[in-house]
Symmetry: C3
């Protein structure tokens, strides 16, 4: 059973996260998605839709699974996750996040690196709540957040680990459009179809220049080779909060 | 017959684009305007208003004329056009764009480099629609757009080659004020008069520091000496779209 | 008699400007406040509230006193004032500006470098009106303004030396919240209490990364060692406007 479905809408390829119950990002899903994003243009895609299932885009990192990893494996996972962000941020073809529901932490992070974000209207939440679970938001993700909503608002939300609901996310520019849940993917496809009607080279090259600041962030990541996120994962503060969270999740599920 | 009129409102000089029917930017107008912007302070101007005629600020580059140019001449034209943007962006005295009507492509570009934009209220449109006609928006122009409306919104509009109407332009900060067409120039003059009442050296030096990021963009232009715009002008994609556009314009005019 | 009161609300320390009648920033107050901000974490503070008195946060620099200083003393004062901005901007613990009333010029500057700004609702004004009194807004302060309200809006307000009222300040993001005057300090304390409930290391490190651009501005200040502000203070334009302002203030007080 695959953790990622690919649906072809002509030359727009939908990559649908498909790891029940909440599309938690484990090493397999992250690695599979990264490869799929990179491979898509070579398979005829001119645009990508990244979607989840109705009500849940992705719950973010699969904490219970990741807590089993040792230091080396966690370092590898993080490199792979940043690589996935880079694949989205540097994609030569436009990518739309079809945020079909809740999108905390890692789910929100993936959406930040896409060209455009369409979110399901309703009682769904999105945001970088890493601080709430004892984790630090690294610079490359902070930079992506800043270019969407400005330096100060990004600082306030990330430092508090705040989530916002869909309406507020739209109001502040964290997402670009709201639409009913069942229409999110269709709207993402039609947004891409409109964009792909423009003269292709002019659109691609203007897009490359417009996103060069984001690309430069990944150049810096490559220079620094920071392992701070994985390092921090194992500190007492993070481990206590993360394990407590997992325990509560288990109790809740009965 | 001149393509540019100069009207003196005391020490505020209005440079009025005057090339019927649509103030299309041909080599003569670009060169004349560049010289006039640079010369104004030496001729007693303490502020500049850049205006068009009622209903049409400028339709942008004069495509039919420019399509006649060979590669070398197009390269020269582009250098001159960026030089005009630089003259506006680096002007030692404040410049207001009195956007008296439609302002697509090149018309919008000139407005971006002014200190302040006052646009005619009504069914007029403004925006960087270069992509729609197969052209790429170069970095120096993208940077000017970003500092007005933010990185993400600028990316979305430029990559799609989107135009917006006056109300939307005001809402997103692409223009600073809306007023009835016949009042645009008068309001631009009075805005400058207010600014020129402030202590002159303090105002000028604070302004210089505030616009240093824009000046730095032109330093980079000088370093790179990019000829990409002129290069691209001659590629198949652009030539086909541009020639098709000119053919349609001719057919329309009967 | 002290010019600064310290009030402890458990581990949140309120530094209250206390120099009647208008909390004008003279060398003693600037120096005392700088030391207090730097010392607070070592005295058990986990957060700082910077407050004024009801109706007046701070009227800014104490111009009548500063006009008595010679060139060297003015240079020293300015170094100390930028040092105070740096202490606020680099504080390892979060700082909230409790803007209890009017906050022109230097008062607004201090607020810019805090993490969060809560302002008294009502007929109070805030802004960088330096240009109005013949002074230049230096780059480090312009940078702080830009990251709150964007490059273009910051340029417009600073170049004109414009003040805005509380409602407008909130609308454009120059302040983060409005509340009745008597509730400003209490709200500042409770905002900090909420923030301090988050995992402490994750919050601090995410905050450090989010504010690194602001820190970098102070690195540049240290490199440049600019004395331009003090230099400019003694030029004719500034001296005439400043002395005229002081004369009018004296006449007004009878």
């Amino acid at each position: 059973m695959t953790v990622l479905e690919t649906l072809r809408h002509d030359d727009i390829h939908e990559l649908r996260l498909s790891r029940p119950p909440v599309n938690a990002l484990n090493p397999e899903l992250v690695s599979t998605l990264r490869k799929a994003v990179i491979a898509a243009p070579g398979q005829g895609a001119r645009g990508i839709v990244l979607s989840g299932h109705a009500g849940m885009f992705s719950a973010g990192l699969d904490v219970p699974t990741l807590l089993q990893l040792d230091r080396a494996a966690m370092g590898e996972f993080w490199t792979e996750f940043v690589g996935l962000c880079e694949a989205l941020g540097r994609s030569p073809i436009p990518v739309v996040a079809a945020i079909t529901g809740h999108s905390p932490a890692g789910g929100a992070v993936l959406a930040l690196f896409c060209d455009y974000r369409i979110m399901a209207r309703g009682a769904f939440r999105i945001g970088l709540n890493e601080v709430q679970v004892g984790l630090v938001v690294p610079e490359v993700i902070q930079a992506a957040m800043r270019r969407l909503i400005g330096a100060h608002r990004a600082e306030r939300l990330m430092v508090a680990g705040a989530m916002v609901d869909a309406e507020e996310a739209y109001r502040i520019g964290l997402v670009d459009e709201l639409i009913d849940t069942e229409l999110v993917v269709g709207r993402a496809v039609s947004w891409l179809q409109d964009l792909l009607k423009k003269p292709a080279q002019a659109m691609s090259e203007t897009r490359r220049i417009a996103r060069a600041d984001l690309h430069a962030e990944f150049d810096r990541v490559a220079e620094i080779k920071s392992d701070a996120f994985a390092e921090r994962w194992f500190c007492d503060e993070a481990q206590i909060v993360l394990k407590d969270m997992v325990a509560k999740l288990k109790a809740k599920r009965g």
